[in-house]
Amino acid sequence: MIDTIFLILASFALFGAGCMIMLSNTVHSALGFIVTILALAGLYALLDASFLFMVQIIVYAGAIIALLLFVIMFLNIQQSHAPKEPSKYLFMVVSAIIMMPVDYLLFKAFYTITDIKNFSVTPKDFGDVKMLGGELFRNWLLPFEAISLLLLVALIGAVVMARKKERA
């Protein structure tokens, strides 16, 4: 049962990713991305990581892609504005071949790190809100604050960049 759900969600994720890079219409690409993100959220739910599942939907699907779609619609990008990519599929195949060694490394790492024989989710409350919060704010407080500082810097940077230049 779980294997079937996993296969369905994984194929949805791959399908969405494929759509995102192959379609020429920007809105369609964004929709493909949403499909991928929702499928990934489903995979998290399958792993009992309920908090990650919800945050994935709230932050990525609910806010970031909505913002992206808003910008695309706001700029009203037409098909004719997009750059011409005559040898798009050739590039895709070539880059896939170039990436092969990295993929191999990833697989190798995956099979050495995890014990495939009893590959199961750890404790029952593994992805619980309370458990995750406790870990984050007790053991990993400093990295957490550092990341939030980084985000703040990025935010201020964006505001500074977007501000209209005053005429001298």
């Binding site: 809105v27 929709l31 309920s50 609910g62 909505a66 808003f70 009203n76």
Partner: protein
């Protein structure tokens, strides 16, 4: 899997259906009648089936049938057929799913099993609501975009900007609530509110967190696309906004989805700020312990209320001509009322005489709590309608200023104050 579990799950899903989809005709009726009342006119009250008008409620069903049987027209200019077709479905489904986590009653204990009284028995209801409120905007944005119509596109861009700006304040207002309640599980939150502060005020969210309540209710109006924040459809500026090109039941799905979203927002507000299924001053435990007194109280109050209601019907719905069909309605309504009274009096009398099993008490308490929740839900929905017909629509820049310059700083300040109080209090 046993029979009780399956029954409870099915009953829960039916309840969620009734409260969301089943409430739509009632809400449409409430909206039109209240609008009539506020504008000093009657509102729809003529539509009838064999004389039965139910105060105009039949009109909602007539309207729904009209939408179902209308021609489903799509302009030839619309190229994105699939997206055009699926957008109303996204709005409808996400509004509907967001209702599924509202607890209608406290955890039901039958034998040695405990059941969550929600459509979907999950314990992170707040996150679920936020996620689906965020997803519903896709339906509006994509519907407007795929319509190949300038007004539709304007409507969808407005909807997108509005949801993005108000979701920030909404989430931040919720964080201060989470600090107070210490849980994301809606049943925990409601049970927290069954307590008292200073010994006599119910510890409802609106008393504990008045600022968060105001911010959240405001943003909930914006998320549900209701006036004064309905710039996405603003009919005086951009025709019908995102649903200009939609007709028949595709438009109907948008319409029904909007009402379900309103109902879900109301349910969420009731759960977070108005004690959910709790009767003020009477917790679940107290109801169970003093069930005899509750039954006696109902036995006294119910006939009096029914008598008053009968008098009201006789005063308002009696017509001089003997063969007037409308007199039939009064006759049958009063009969149904009397039958209901007899059944309830017999049932409670039996319980009082021969005593009650604990399971029966638990189920009866759950029923009372479901009724309480329904009453609160209806009142909150009434507030939504009331505001819609009293306040004018915001202009786009005013809306953004309210969102970013007023609500966001206020909600951040509220988090600080709440955290300070919690830390100092502990």
């Amino acid at each position: 899997m046993n029979a009780i579990l399956v029954t409870v799950v099915i009953v829960n899903i039916i309840l969620a259906l009734l409260f969301s989809l089943g409430a739509v005709p009632i809400l449409v009726w409430v909206e039109r009648r209240v609008a009539g009342f506020i504008q000093d006119r009657l509102g729809p009250n003529r539509c009838n089936i064999a004389g039965f008008r139910l105060g105009g409620l039949v009109q909602s069903f007539a309207d729904m049938f009209k939408l179902v049987f209308k021609e489903d027209f799509r302009a030839g200019d619309i190229k994105e057929k699939f997206i055009f077709r699926i957008s109303p479905v996204i709005v409808f489904v996400s509004a509907f799913l967001s209702f599924m986590v509202m607890p209608f009653a406290d955890n039901l204990v039958i034998g040695d099993q405990t059941f969550l009284m929600q459509g979907l028995p999950i314990d992170f209801g707040i996150l679920w609501f936020l996620a689906l409120a965020g997803l519903s905007v896709y339906g509006i944005m994509l519907g407007g975009w795929s319509s190949s119509n300038k007004y539709s596109l304007l409507g969808s861009v407005r909807a997108g900007a509005q949801v993005i700006s108000y979701e920030a304040s909404m989430t931040l207002a919720l964080i201060s609530l989470l600090i107070t309640y210490g849980s994301v599980h809606l049943v925990d939150i409601v049970n927290f509110q069954s307590g008292l502060i200073f010994g006599f005020i119910p510890a409802w969210g609106i008393v504990m967190q008045p600022l968060a309540a105001i911010i959240f209710i405001t943003t909930a109006f914006a998320e549900a696309n209701r006036t004064p924040f309905d710039i996405a459809e603003g009919e005086s500026e951009i025709v019908g906004g995102y649903h200009t090109e939609y007709s028949a039941m595709k438009f109907g799905l948008f319409f029904v989805g909007e009402y379900i979203a309103m109902s879900a927002s109301s349910a969420f507000i009731v759960t977070l700020f108005f004690g959910g299924y709790n009767i003020p001053w009477v917790g679940t435990q107290m109801l169970k312990e003093h069930f005899d007194i509750v039954m006696i109280a109902i036995l006294i109050i119910l006939p009096i209320l029914s008598y008053k209601f009968r008098g009201w019907i006789l005063k308002n719905n009696v017509w001089p001509k003997a063969d007037d069909k409308r007199n039939n309605e009064s006759k049958w309504l009063i009969r149904v009322l009397i039958m209901m009274n007899i059944v309830i009096i017999l049932l409670f009398g039996y319980f009082l005489l021969f005593g009650v099993a604990s399971t029966a008490t638990n189920i009866a308490v759950a029923l009372i709590q479901i009724a309480t929740f329904a009453v609160k839900l209806l009142l909150m929905n009434f507030v939504f309608v009331w505001v819609r017909w009293t306040l004018p629509r915001f202009r786009y820049d005013q809306l953004q200023e309210l969102g970013w310059k007023v609500l966001l700083p206020l909600s951040i300040a509220n988090i600080f104050i709440t955290a300070l109080v919690v830390v100092i209090g502990a």
